[in-house]
């Protein structure tokens, strides 16, 4: 291990060993009880909560010198949040980093699951702002814990059904709740529901960290993850009539962007590595100067 590349005076990956052990014990129980939120304690990361401190704590407890780390925010490796977190871990662990999904052993993400299918022995770490899927229905932690304990999830179905009554369909498009291993209702973090099916029977290990509420949860590889729905209103993912203006993809999650000063609108892949790997369909595309990125608060439960 290249200890020389770690910043002087800091522990490997920043956290002290006791905090890492607490998080590691919580992670082992989290994988043993898929979808259940395990409380954890310990030291904080040196940044404000909106920056994905929970995901960073999980990454810090898991990462080793042999890992290859990728960090994405909204699917992109080059946003401020992703760049900062990547630089932080490079500085404090010396690990190799990559933008290529296939080459990463550890991927920390905010708001997306990569388009490329993840493989066995890869670990996906999600940054979670609000871990409790029942929180917006029931503000009391004591009550939501009881509801999970008793598998008393009627209120969640009522909320989704009210959507249908009101909008004709389930209006939730981000942080769409899932049932893990037929037992726990879980918040998949504010990923688009487009990504929900990727969680089901994923060969990679999925870990979730919520910094403010200090909760860790997990989905082991090859575990059933079902998006909640009703027989007469089955779960559906977002679809676009358009295809990516750069690579021509019809299968990926697309962001609407403004392409030029005239306000011409177009759609491009939100997963920049996926788009780059496919390559441009033609040379003459004018890349947008700036892709608008919502803050976590903007996107957080925007439909609720």
């Amino acid at each position: 291990m290249s200890a020389a590349t770690i910043r002087d005076g800091y522990n490997f990956a920043y956290l002290d060993e006791q905090t890492k052990r607490m998080i590691r014990r919580a992670l082992l129980k989290a994988v043993a009880i898929p979808g259940y939120q395990v409380p954890f304690g310990g030291r904080e990361m040196p940044m404000p909560y909106g920056w994905g401190t929970g995901g960073m704590q999980v990454t810090a407890a898991v990462i080793g010198a042999d890992d290859v780390l990728k960090v994405i925010d909204q699917g992109a490796d080059d946003t401020t949040n992703a760049v900062s977190i990547r630089a932080f871990f490079k500085d404090l662990t010396g690990v190799e980093t990559t933008e290529k999904t296939r080459e990463a052993s550890l991927i920390q993400t905010r708001h997306r699951i990569p388009e490329a299918a993840l493989q066995e022995d890869q670990i996906l770490v999600y940054q979670v702002p609000i871990p409790e899927p029942l929180r917006f229905i029931e503000p009391s932690e004591v009550e939501t814990r009881k509801m999970h304990a008793l598998e008393d999830y009627g209120v969640m179905h009522v909320k989704l059904y009210e959507d249908i009554a009101h909008f004709g369909h389930i209006a939730t498009t981000y942080a769409y709740p899932v049932m893990v291993n037929g037992r726990y209702i879980m918040d998949p973090s504010p990923i688009p529901k487009f990504d929900n099916p990727k969680m089901h029977q994923m060969p990679a290990l999925q870990l979730f960290g919520a910094g403010r509420e200090k909760r860790i949860y997990a989905i082991p590889p090859y575990t059933d993850v079902k998006s909640l729905d009703f027989e007469d209103h089955p779960f559906e993912i977002q679809q676009w009539d358009e295809s990516c203006a750069i690579c021509g993809s019809h299968e990926s999650f697309l962001d609407e962007v403004i392409m030029d000063d005239l306000g011409t609108r177009s759609f491009i892949c939100s997963d920049t590595d996926f788009c780059r790997e496919r390559g441009p369909i033609e040379e003459s595309i004018n890349m947008p100067v700036d892709t608008p990125i919502d803050t976590p608060i903007d996107i957080l439960r925007e439909t609720l």
Binding site: M1, R21, A26, Y36, D121, N181, L205
Partner: protein
């Protein structure tokens, strides 16, 4: 009585704890996968692999129960020196426990957690002579590296288990030595309904396999 001898722990605790934890994370999230781990020295009859698990996971916040075979002055003294965990006489209060399978007379002695806090269920670490796994690929079976299994060892000592559930694509076949009826019944009958339960870690001399509470187990 001689003062207990302090043995060496991890050569590089930060690195070695992380590597040991990653092996444990793989083993617990992929039940039936055999992983390798070690520490420089064994602690009398406590394997170096078991000692590695203790160094990686235990500290002042994790009450540990030691079975009579492991509750020796040497082991207590060294575990306390390296990890500082409290040793409890009451298995029900232990977050971690170490024993030989043959010493387990009732699984009900250990905590299964509560419905509201199921993570307080015990992690029971059992030292065995061997753990090994087989991958069954379309009828063919390919042995994964096993450990500690001498060719002379009686086949009867091994129990073959078929595992399925979270972490397992279809099913996994593993062989564990020294299991007794109490453990086999617990694994097959699953008396505690999920999410309650005890997570089992079977440790051989240099390798380990986990069977968490979610795994469905069939004896072959």
């Amino acid at each position: 009585m001689n003062a207990p001898k302090i043995i060496r722990g991890f050569a590089e605790p930060v690195r070695d704890s992380q590597q040991t934890f990653r092996q444990l994370l793989k083993a617990m999230s992929e039940p039936g996968s055999v992983v390798n781990l070690t520490s420089p020295d064994a602690l009398t009859h406590l394997y170096s692999s078991t000692f590695a698990v203790c160094q990686a996971l235990l500290d002042q916040q994790t009450p540990l129960w030691l079975s009579p075979e492991f509750n020796t002055a040497d082991i207590r003294h060294n575990l306390h020196f390296h990890s500082g965990m409290p040793i409890t006489d009451e298995p029900a209060k232990a977050l971690f426990a170490i024993a030989y399978p043959g010493e387990i007379t009732a699984m009900s002695e250990f905590s299964i957690g509560s419905c509201e806090y199921p993570e307080t269920g015990c992690t029971l670490i059992l030292q065995v002579n061997s753990v090994s796994s087989e991958l069954t690929v379309s009828g063919l079976s390919a042995k994964e590296p096993s450990s500690g299994l001498s060719p002379l060892m009686s086949k009867q000592a091994l129990t073959s288990l078929k595992l399925s559930g979270p972490g397992i694509a279809t099913e996994k076949l593993i062989h564990i030595s020294d299991l007794n009826d109490v453990l086999i019944n617990y694994l097959v009958e699953r008396p505690d309904s999920f999410p309650l339960g005890i997570d089992l870690v079977f440790v051989a001399e240099q390798s380990l396999v986990c069977i968490p509470r979610t795994t469905t187990v069939e004896v072959l």
